[in-house]
Amino acid sequence: MAFDLFLQHLSNGISLGSLYALIAIGYTMVYGILRLINFAHGDIFMMATYFAFFGIVTFHIPWYITFPLVLVLTAALGIGVEATAYRPLREAPKISILISAIGASFFLENLTIVLFGGVPKPFPAPKLFTDVVQVGSVSIQKLTFYIPVVTVISLLGLVYLINKTKTGMAMRAVSMDQETARVMGININHTIAFTFGLGSFLAAVGGIMWGMKFPQIQPLMGVIPGLKCFIAAVIGGIGNIGGAVIGGFILGIGEIMLVAFLPNLTGYRDAFAFILLILILLYKPTGILGEKTAEKV
């Protein structure tokens, strides 16, 4: 019985961790290339769920068409955010870019409130995913199994793209050394835009599954997951994709287990990530897989 329960918590933790991992990758890729937190990433993730809502509920487009559409739209949104909030500030002090990113984040949140209202909407999860299966004495949503599978497929795709394609090579080059990459004839702006698009694409994958798992969407739903996933990226070693995945799982499983085994601390669930962040920054600021680099003097 207790073991069954543990398994249920574990599978929940794994699927939450998968979602965190997908969103964390977006942070880590943008950080790797620009050395900046994309403060608006959580809001891009939120917008993806709204796109899906409108596709299915408002326009009655079947889910298997809506979902791919959402991925494309969200990627486009990410590229748009980069073009307006980041690109004009390429040469500006870092603090200005951060402020601009925070502005973009608030802008997206409030625009959503204005356009779609602040009241939570039910996410139209297709029945195929929300069916419940019995495993021993516990019942688990099918989704809980699909989420890790989709995550793994996305990750394999990503790894292929980064390691085997020309664009992926350009991304790696830009993140190593922008100046040299430029001299080598790589279009920096295109590469950065592509990175934002790719990160947003993965955030959309995460967003759709998030919507099905927690079927209520609202304009501020991206804030806390956004912060947590950034933290996941830092825990794993920012700039490192494998690290983002590890960080996502640590955070997701840790959170679920905390609530499951220390129910008194449920109220502190959202503080868990931040405490973890501060601990890791204190004891291993480069994260689990991060490498030490010396500042150039």
Binding site: L36, I37, T84, A85, P88, L89, A92, K94, I95, S96, L98, I99, S100, I102, G103, A104, S105, F106, F107, E109, N110, L111, I113, V114, G117, G118, P219, V223, L227, F230, I231, V234, G267, Y268, D270, A271, A273, F274, I275, L277, I278, L281, L282, P285, E295, V297
Partner: protein, 361 residues
């Protein structure tokens, strides 16, 4: 030169006298709604200046301001709410001793609030100030969130999510403007001292500053703690102005508003923060129409909830993208600058032709 100094001194004294008379008048004769807005302006000025000390002068991109405000606001409120009222508020879980009976005069309560916020600032500074840039931003933001989560869960002290109600309305214009003036004087004096230069040096280039003998950790911590102190006092004033506070109020959005103020006023300009605190607060009130429907008699303009926030976030981006130095850059207000400004020359300056060119004589 001497005459100019005299002129500046006279103008400053006159303006101060005018301000005193105005506050006396406003406190007694102006509409309560307007008095309240003026109070908020002054409090935001305090919050802006204190955040500017940390972010603008010392170059620490901290996003934890709401947390310090919360500490100050709760402390001051708990120390000033009469015991009888406390009993009513804490009907779910009673307030711990001796807080349930403690009742202190407003200034002392404010000061204690500031001290506690400073203490929290000091505790946070130790682990976070080693971090740089966005790591620091996230870590401080995280601490502010932790403070909020703790306040939501410690029901026997903070009354949890229900918040505190019936906080006595002790904040008036004398307190808010007086504290703002005090903050300005102290911080101006600090940044114009050798210590202020050390802060600015660490903002400009940490490695060079260290190599010139600046003890970075000491100066950063000091700026952080002092900023937290004034943020706590600002929070205390705000709580005793509004009458109710709850943990939700001190979310990241609050920090965002203060960030907007210091960016608009100019990172590294205290007087800029004051000016922009007034602009932002008053605009915030006037733009309320954006959130509500207004009936002009012949036509009803539909407002949209959240429109104001859209405008403000767009404004923040606009300022950063096109107008990075804000209203004042890193300059402080001076009469010379005032007489040379477009604002003056296009308005009052038209009537005093002799002054038109005399700005920098």
């Amino acid at each position: 030169m001497a005459t100019k100094k005299t002129r500046d001194r006279v103008l400053t004294i006159l303006s101060l006298l005018f301000l005193l008379v105005f506050i006396g008048f406003a406190e007694n004769h102006l509409d309560l709604y307007i008095v309240r807005i003026l109070n908020v302006c002054a409090i935001y000025a305090i919050l802006g200046m204190s955040m500017n000390l940390i972010n603008g002068f010392t170059g620490l991109f901290s996003l934890g301001h709401a947390g310090f405000m919360a500490v100050g606001a709760y402390t001051t409120a708990l120390l000033t709410i009469p015991p009888a009222v406390k009993e009513q508020i804490f009907y779910l879980v009673p307030l711990v001793e001796p807080l349930d009976r403690l009742n202190l005069p407003f200034p002392i309560a404010l000061f204690v609030g500031g001290l506690l916020a400073a203490l929290v600032g000091g505790l946070i500074a130790a682990p976070t100030l080693r971090l740089k840039g966005d790591y620091l931003a996230i870590a401080t933001l995280g601490f502010a969130e932790i403070i909020r989560v703790v306040f939501t869960n410690t029901q026997n002290i903070t009354n949890g999510a229900l918040g505190l109600k019936g906080i006595p309305a002790l904040t008036n214009l004398w307190w808010s403007f007086g504290t703002a003036a005090f903050t300005l004087v102290i911080l101006l004096s600090l940044i114009n001292s050798s210590y202020g230069r050390a802060l600015k040096a660490s903002r400009e280039d940490e490695i060079a500053a260290e190599s010139m003998g600046t003890h970075l950790a000491k100066h950063k911590t000091f700026a952080f703690v002092l900023g937290a102190f004034f943020a706590g006092i600002g929070g205390g004033l705000l709580g005793n102005l509004l009458g109710t506070i709850d943990p939700k109020m001190f979310s990241f959005t609050f920090t965002f508003n203060i960030l907007l103020i210091i960016v608009l006023g100019g990172m590294g300009s205290l007087t800029g923060s004051i000016i922009s605190a007034f602009i932002v607060t008053i605009a915030n009130e006037y733009l309320r129409i954006l959130d509500e429907s207004i009936n002009l008699g012949f036509i009803v303009i539909q407002g949209k909830v959240g429109m104001r926030a859209v405008v403000f976030s767009a404004l923040l981006m606009f300022v950063v993208l096109f107008y990075r130095h804000g209203l004042m850059g890193s300059n402080e207000f001076s009469w010379d600058r005032f007489f040379a400004s477009k604002l003056y020359r296009r308005t009052l300056g038209r009537f005093t032709p002799g002054q038109r060119k005399g700005g920098y004589a």
